[in-house]
C-alpha cells in the first residue's frame, strides 16, 4: 500500500513537472466537438449518449494507456528504472499507484465533454445516478488495472511510447466506445466481450437513458472482474517480465 501511495504522490508531482501527461484535457473537448457535429449533422440526437461518453473514454483510456507506456519510457530515459527495481517497494505497486492517479485525473474530461454538449444545445441527463457513479468508479479501477498489464509489456518493449500510441484505436473499436459493438462484424463481438470497455461503455450509456438497466449487477461485475483480471495478469506478468529482463540485461536499455 505504501508503494502504491508513493507512486500516487510522485505522479501528482509529475503532473506539474511533465504537463504533457494532461494532454487529454485538451483533446477530449475537441473529440466532443467532432462527435457532436457528426450527430447533429446526421440528425441523430438520439445518439447524444455516445457523443457524451466516447470522448471521456478516449481521454481515460489514453491517460491510462499512454501514461503506462510513458512512465516506463521516462524511467528508462532517466536511468531510474533499475534503481526502482532495486528498491524494496514493489515496482508493480508503484506503477499501479502512478497509473491510478493519472486515470483519476481523467475524470475531469466528463465535465469538459458535457460542457461542450451543452454548447451544442444538448443537456446530458443522468437518469440512473447511483448506477452511473458506481460504473464510473469500477471503470476507473478496471482502467488502471488493465494499464498495469500494458505497463508490463512496455517493460519488455524498448520503444514503449510507439507501442502505446498504436494500441489505443483498436481498443476504441473493440470497446464499442463510439460505434456500438452490435454493429461490428460478428466475429469481433466475442473478442469485444472480454474488453471491459465494452461492458463499461454500455452501462454508462444505459445510465443516461430513462429505460431501466437490465442485469446491472452482473454487467458491473463483469467490468470489475475483467479489470481485476487485467490487474492480476499485469502484476504476474510484471514479475515474470522483470525476471526475464534482469536475465537478458535489457532492463535499463533505451
Amino acid at each position: 500500500m505504501r508503494a502504491f501511495l508513493a507512486g500516487a504522490r510522485i505522479q501528482l508531482a509529475f503532473f506539474r513537472a511533465y504537463p504533457d501527461a494532461l494532454i487529454p484535457f485538451f483533446t477530449a473537448p475537441m473529440f466532443s466537438v467532432i462527435f457532436q457535429l457528426i450527430f447533429h449533422h446526421a440528425g441523430r440526437t438520439d445518439l447524444t449518449g455516445y457523443a457524451a461518453i466516447a470522448p471521456v473514454f478516449i481521454a481515460l483510456w489514453w491517460m491510462a494507456l499512454f501514461n503506462s507506456g510513458w512512465t516506463i519510457t521516462i524511467e528508462r530515459w532517466n536511468g531510474t528504472i533499475e534503481l526502482l527495481v532495486a528498491a524494496p517497494a514493489s515496482f508493480a505497486a508503484v506503477i499501479f499507484g502512478r497509473i491510478t492517479t493519472t486515470t483519476l485525473a481523467g475524470v475531469v474530461s466528463f465535465g469538459e465533454t458535457w460542457v461542450i454538449a451543452r454548447l451544442f444545445g444538448t443537456t446530458v441527463t443522468i437518469e440512473h445516478a447511483w448506477e452511473f457513479v458506481a460504473t464510473i468508479v469500477v471503470t476507473l479501477a478496471a482502467m488502471a488495472g488493465t494499464a498495469v498489464a500494458m505497463a508490463s509489456l512496455f517493460v519488455l518493449a524498448r520503444n514503449a511510447v510507439t507501442f502505446s500510441n498504436s494500441a489505443s484505436f483498436p481498443f476504441y473499436v473493440l470497446g464499442g466506445i463510439l460505434v456500438p459493438v452490435s454493429l461490428l462484424p460478428a466475429w469481433i463481438r466475442p473478442v469485444s466481450s472480454i474488453v471491459f470497455l465494452s461492458w463499461s461503455a454500455d452501462l454508462l450509456r444505459a445510465g443516461l437513458r430513462p429505460a431501466p438497466i437490465h442485469h446491472f449487477a452482473f454487467r458491473l461485475g463483469m467490468v470489475g472482474l475483467l479489470g481485476a483480471c487485467g490487474l492480476g495478469l499485469g502484476m504476474y506478468a510484471m514479475r515474470v517480465i522483470l525476471t526475464r529482463v534482469r536475465g537478458s540485461g535489457e532492463l535499463g536499455t533505451t
Binding site: 505504501r2 508503494a3 501511495l5 508513493a6 504522490r9 510522485i10 508531482a13 509529475f14 513537472a17 511533465y18 532517466n78 536511468g79 531510474t80 533499475e82 534503481l83 526502482l84 527495481v85 532495486a86 528498491a87 524494496p88 517497494a89 508503484v94 525476471t243 534482469r246 536475465g247 537478458s248 540485461g249 532492463l251 535499463g252
Partner: protein, 306 residues
C-alpha cells in the same frame, strides 16, 4: 561468478568470467578497471537488477537472486553522471520519493531527507529543480538518494565521473565519513587517485576477470619487480655493465641528468644496487610504482581498445 550477454544476431559477450571476491563488512573496496572491464555488470548483479549466468553472490549473507527481498533494503546504489534522478523534480522531492520506496514513515522521510540534504550541502537548494544543478551537486544528491534507506552496503558506480577536482575531493571526504559509520562500500572507478585515497583494498578487473586484490600499497609491491632505480653520478662503463645485468630491462637518461634503471625480474634490484654501491655510487633512489603504473603494467597499455 560468470555473466554472459547474448545479444541478438551477435556473438555472446562474456562480461564476468569466473569472478570470485569477498569484501568484509565495513571495508571500502575499489573495483578498478578500464571501460568494459565488467565493473558495472558486477555492481548490477550485486544490486539485484541483473542475474548472473552462473555462480552466486551474497550481500550480508543473502543471495542476490534467491533472496532479493532481503537484499534490497540493505543496499544503496549511486551511479555516476546525469542519470538516476528526476531532473524536473526538486532535490527534496527526489529524496522523499526514494524514502517512500524504502518504506520509511512520513516522519522518517522528512527527517532523513532534511538531514541528508544538510550533510551533502544542498539544504539551500533543496526545493530547486535538479535540472538546474551542477554536475557536482547532482552527484551529491545521488549519494543522498543512495543513503535514504540507511543502506549498510553502498554500491558507488564511478560516482565522481565528470566532477571537477574540488568536488571530487569533497565527495571522497563524504565516502570517508560513510566508512567511519561502518558501512561497506564497493566503489567502481578508473581513477587511480580515488582508489588510492579512499579504498582499504582494491581489485583490478579486466575483461571480466579479477586480476589482483590487494591494498593500494601492496598492489604496488605486487609488481615491485618492475621497481625503478634512479642513479646520479654513475660512470658510463658502470651503466653499460648494469644494462647487461640479467633482469634489467632498460637504462635511460632522464631530463634532470640522472639515469633511470628499470628492472623486470625479482631480485634484479638487489644485484643492481650492489653493483652501484661496490662502484662507490651512493646517490641512489629506488621507488615503488604508483597505482596508476600498476594499472598500466597489469592491464597493459591498450589505448582506447575495450
Amino acid at each position: 561468478m560468470r555473466r554472459v550477454f547474448t545479444p541478438r544476431k551477435r556473438e555472446p559477450v562474456t562480461a564476468l568470467d569466473g569472478v570470485s571476491l569477498s569484501i568484509p563488512a565495513g571495508e571500502v573496496h575499489g573495483l578498478l578497471g578500464p571501460n568494459g572491464a565488467g565493473k558495472t555488470t558486477l555492481v548490477k548483479i550485486l544490486s539485484t537488477v541483473l542475474l548472473p549466468t552462473s555462480g552466486r553472490a551474497l550481500v550480508c549473507g543473502h543471495d542476490v537472486v534467491a533472496a532479493t527481498k532481503s537484499v534490497r533494503p540493505l543496499i544503496g546504489i549511486v551511479f555516476g553522471g546525469e542519470r538516476g534522478l528526476y531532473t524536473r523534480l526538486s532535490a527534496r522531492q527526489n529524496l522523499e520519493y526514494w524514502g517512500a520506496l524504502y518504506r520509511l514513515s512520513g516522519v522518517q522521510i522528512k527527517e532523513r531527507s532534511a538531514a541528508l540534504l544538510e550533510r551533502v550541502g544542498l539544504t539551500d537548494r533543496a526545493d530547486q529543480r535538479v535540472e538546474e544543478f551542477s554536475r557536482g551537486m547532482k552527484q551529491r544528491l545521488h549519494l543522498a538518494r543512495g543513503l535514504m534507506g540507511d543502506a549498510r552496503v553502498l554500491f558507488l558506480d564511478e560516482p565522481t565521473t565528470g566532477m571537477d577536482p574540488l568536488a571530487a575531493r569533497e565527495f571522497r571526504t563524504l565516502i570517508g565519513e560513510l566508512k567511519g559509520e561502518g558501512r561497506t562500500i564497493l566503489l567502481t572507478t578508473h581513477d587511480m587517485v580515488e582508489a588510492e585515497t579512499v579504498c582499504d583494498r582494491v581489485s583490478l578487473i579486466d575483461r571480466g576477470r579479477i586480476l589482483a586484490t590487494e591494498t593500494p600499497r601492496s598492489l604496488g609491491t605486487l609488481i615491485s619487480r618492475f621497481q625503478r632505480i634512479d642513479v646520479e653520478g654513475a660512470p658510463p662503463e658502470l651503466l653499460a655493465a648494469i644494462e647487461r645485468t640479467p633482469g634489467v630491462s632498460s637504462v635511460s637518461l632522464q631530463p634532470d641528468g640522472s639515469t633511470r634503471v628499470e628492472v623486470n625480474e625479482e631480485g634484479a634490484t638487489g644485484t643492481v644496487l650492489r653493483l652501484l654501491v661496490d662502484a662507490g655510487v651512493t646517490s641512489v633512489r629506488t621507488s615503488l610504482p604508483g597505482l596508476e603504473e600498476v594499472y598500466v603494467q597489469v592491464i597493459g597499455e591498450r589505448g582506447l581498445t575495450i
